[in-house]
Symmetry: C2
Subunit: 562 residues, 2 copies
């Protein structure tokens, strides 16, 4: 798996194109004031960057080479820059502007768990800092070196730990190395008839270890479970040795250590391996499109589906603004396509009384035997109809399924045109979702107005659970070029996060805390909750040598006797 | 809810009777050498106990009365003795023998969370010890005061926090106080058409807070989830204040604090409230009996059911020894019943080729709409048939369902007759279960032989998950009256626990660690796992004032500045 662009999403040769999407230009002009022929605000060239010299002693570098091999240790500028941050909006904006900040001094790529253990021992011995690195897709600031860090910083890239080690077919469990990327993992599993079924938007460039370290969730988690459920066994190199959690289906062994590593963002150790639940590739798999007359109708339908005896693999409904955006990114299509669209619109307006500006697009996925899929679709169809929804077939769902990993590219496209776009997502009980939604939309729009910027915000519900669901917001605005765009961004993003916790929702459903969300942690899990996490982190890593500053801000590290 | 007997299980007026079970006497004589008219080994009378005086200063008692009310503070001998231990075999044997050990000095029954918070502040201020108490059913030593404890010990009985505070019908979540007993909780929920669906064997005398503190699992957890899944939100009084975890369906907020409180056995705080998933009482509910020709056939069928598109509410299969025991505890029944049994036996032997001494009794439960139940039964029926199993209708299942909470009484019955009986349970991946089973049976029988005692061990699989299941062992033996029965018990129980961890299984699936299983914790979750739990416990409760000695042995507490 090749690295992503140093200052943007995805492979060097892939970019988002509007050329084949005739409705997008007018949409962006109307809502963000972007002219389709607008001036590009390009990134600085890599060669123009002022990359600081590595601040690692020869003694430290020699020790790293001894345990991991000389070829595993890189001081190259591009390596260090690419490992300096994830892909948050703040990361992209600063990288593009050439503001690198405190980057790692050295990147090491260990080939196995022993090498990882050796590296951590060297780091602790030298009172250096270790930051584990998977695919670098994190958007919460979980990968960045704290600005004032004076100790040498070692980025530990797990990319060489990329193998499925074993599939226990009777138990439907696979033992997998943590550095494997999504597509490579699925390829190895599919070759033997299995799938993990974990498909986050970042899938192409994210790794198993990264998913675990951030409590990731994927498009089909309704069926397969979030990564917290998929992950049964674990191995991680910690300051007190190699942690080994057995892949038992449930256990009553005190506070769950498995659930401490999940979401630990590298602060408790470096995940080297996990035993994950796998499923046989299904006989049939389909994602169907539906249209609802309104957002409340769509929400209520999803809530009723979660309470029903149906168990779809995907549940997702967009609000009206996101539905409008989806239609704006449609490819031109044939005359027949356009005629079909017009006929559907006429049907909805005249026969079903839809206000098409309020309608909401939904995708519901089904997976299993043909008989199971048919029965599920029937159960869901009845609930959809009861809420005034209409099925629109498998075409839109298939398209969504193909294009789902392309979404992150659009941020770069917008940045090129001077607009900032980002996402914020949360989860709450079903009863709280309408208010969470209303409060977030109001907070964002109020900020757009106060800042005097053209802005757009849209949302979808995804990941339905028994007691609630995830709401995922995407927002974009075009900052005044004379002002600090990131400062305006902070104002908007903060208003959204504050609306989450003020409305009974959590600061994030699946994007982790990092540094971006740390300010809201206490309001979410209460001060004693933060104290418990702090007790754990400080007890395990008293010197704050492991990815310091993430989740909770560090106190001054206590002097450590070695 | 009244307290249980001070030295045995259950209500004062309920005992296990063999009078209506004609096959039981001969069974116990054959397998344990118990004569049905054997001499009783009675418990000492309560009046004969040597109950130590409470070692709590007037100052401490006054402070407790101030925060909880005078009527909430009890120094009564029976209160203190009943709160001294749970109901493990070791607890019963020592209580019956009048060996009380270090009992709590005072029992306090706070009426609300504020009073709990006040009590904990008083305890910390006085450097005393607080042990939260729910129903007192724990069988892992989680409730006992360490033998050498010199500080005053306060048992905090949550029994007055017994209300369902709120049902969020749209979210299917109920906010419930932690001290409520199982039957009272279900009564309050059922009255409004809901159920929690959590039915552990201890149900009648255990509480919501106790279930959470020990990671309990219930008979229908296949459908409703273990208590770790049912519990979404939490409130607990901790040394740093009242912890409040929001009832969100999933969250990405670092290491899970919710999963730290789950299984914390009172060491991190006192659980006062939880928000739990509830379900509508089902239209139809049935538990069906099945017979399998062998244990391997029964195991394989359960594994295939877990992989199928069926989702039964109960999965349970007994091995041949437990099947034989089940038949031995059958009530006499009518001539028609006996004729039916004889006809079934003839059918199995002649038509299906069963060896009836090897056959295994299974129960599978279904719940939901009539259509759903019918479809599920069909799917399961096909899998059962593929493994040579035969359905035997709803009679045995209904009987099991009625009698499931009576099992704990049988230990007292056996103790009265000089036999020791106990349980040990575990979980492992499907592929490991046959070996776990064989190793445990061999280890126990080898111990019976080495000790020269008549012993019996039997097992069932219950709680099926995607990747594995729980194995639940029950064993009994009749110690030589001249030897120390508990020492022999330790030998056998230790051999079983050791076989668990040596075979890749966990030390307990749902009975917690306490003091009984602490010796195996490091072998199960590895030394770094123990170090993580220790860091958490010591960081949150540096003075070890909260239920010390449980889960991990305490170090000498560090001097605490207050």
């Amino acid at each position: 798996m090749s690295m992503m662009k140093w200052s943007g999403w995805g492979a060097e040769d892939v970019t988002f194109s509007a050329a084949d999407k005739p409705a997008l230009g007018p949409f962006l002009e109307q809502h963000l004031g972007l002219r389709s022929a607008g001036a590009l605000t390009a990134s600085v060239a890599f060669a123009a960057l002022d990359v600081p010299e590595p601040a690692a002693s020869d003694e430290l570098l020699d020790a790293l080479r001894r345990v991991a091999g000389a070829e595993a240790v890189s001081l190259e500028a591009r390596d260090r820059v690419t490992h300096a941050r994830g892909k948050s909006l703040r990361d992209l904006v600063r990288h593009r502007a050439g503001e690198l900040g405190r980057i790692p001094d050295v990147v090491v790529r260990p080939s196995d768990e022993d090498a990882v253990a050796g590296l951590l021992a060297v780091v602790l011995d030298a009172d250096a800092v270790a930051i584990p690195f998977g695919g670098g897709t994190n958007i919460s600031g979980s990968l960045e070196v704290p600005a004032g860090e004076t100790r040498p910083v070692v980025s530990i890239d797990l990319g060489r730990l990329d193998r499925v080690l074993e599939i226990d077919e009777a138990s439907r469990l696979a033992r997998v190395q943590a550095g494997v990327f999504g597509p490579d993992l699925e390829r190895q599993l599919n070759a033997r008839g299995w799938t993990l079924g974990h498909f986050p938007d970042s899938f192409t460039y994210s790794t198993l270890g990264g998913w675990i370290a951030t409590r990731s969730s994927g498009m089909q988690s309704d069926r397969f479970g979030d990564v917290a459920e998929l992950t049964r066994g674990l191995r991680a190199v910690t300051p007190t040795g190699v942690l080994a959690i057995r892949p038992v289906p449930a256990t009553s062994t005190g506070p769950s250590v498995r659930e401490m590593i999940l979401g630990s963002e590298g602060r408790l150790g470096i995940i080297t391996e996990a035993t994950v639940q796998v499923h046989r590739v299904a006989q049939e798999r389909t994602i169907r499109g539906y249209l609802f007359p309104s957002w409340p109708a769509g929400l209520a339908a999803m809530r009723d589906i979660a309470a029903s005896e149906a168990s779809p693999s995907v549940t997702r409904v967009s609000d009206a603004p996101e539905t409008a955006f989806s239609f704006a990114t449609k490819k031109g299509g044939s005359v027949v396509d356009r005629l079909k669209s017009r006929a559907l619109r006429a049907f909805l307006e005249r026969r079903r009384g839809f206000d098409v500006s309020a309608m909401c697009l939904a995708f519901i996925g089904y997976e299993g035997s043909a008989r199971h899929v048919a029965a599920q679709r029937k159960l869901v169809g009845r609930i959809v109809a009861a809420h005034g929804g209409v099925g629109i077939g498998s075409g839109p769902g298939a398209l969504y399924d193909q294009k789902k990993f392309d979404t992150p590219y659009i941020r770069d496209y917008l940045l090129d045109r001077g607009a900032l776009a980002d996402v914020s997502e949360t989860a709450a009980p079903w009863s709280a979702l309408p208010e969470v939604y209303d409060n977030v939309m109001a907070a964002a729009r109020e900020r757009f107005d106060a800042l005097g910027v053209k802005g757009y915000i849209m949302s979808h519900l995804s990941h339905s659970y028994h007691g609630g669901a995830c709401l995922y917001f995407t927002f974009a605005f075009r900052p005044d070029p004379v002002r600090d765009g990131l400062a305006d961004y902070d104002t908007i993003k903060s208003a959204i996060q504050q609306a989450f916790v003020d409305s009974g929702a959590t600061l994030s459903h699946h994007h982790a805390v990092g540094t971006e969300h740390a300010a809201w942690l206490e309001q979410d899990i209460s001060a004693p909750g933060v104290a418990m996490i702090r007790a754990l982190l400080e007890g395990v890593d008293p010197g704050a040598n492991l990815n310091p500053g993430k989740i909770v801000a560090d106190r001054q590290p206590a002097p450590v006797e070695r």
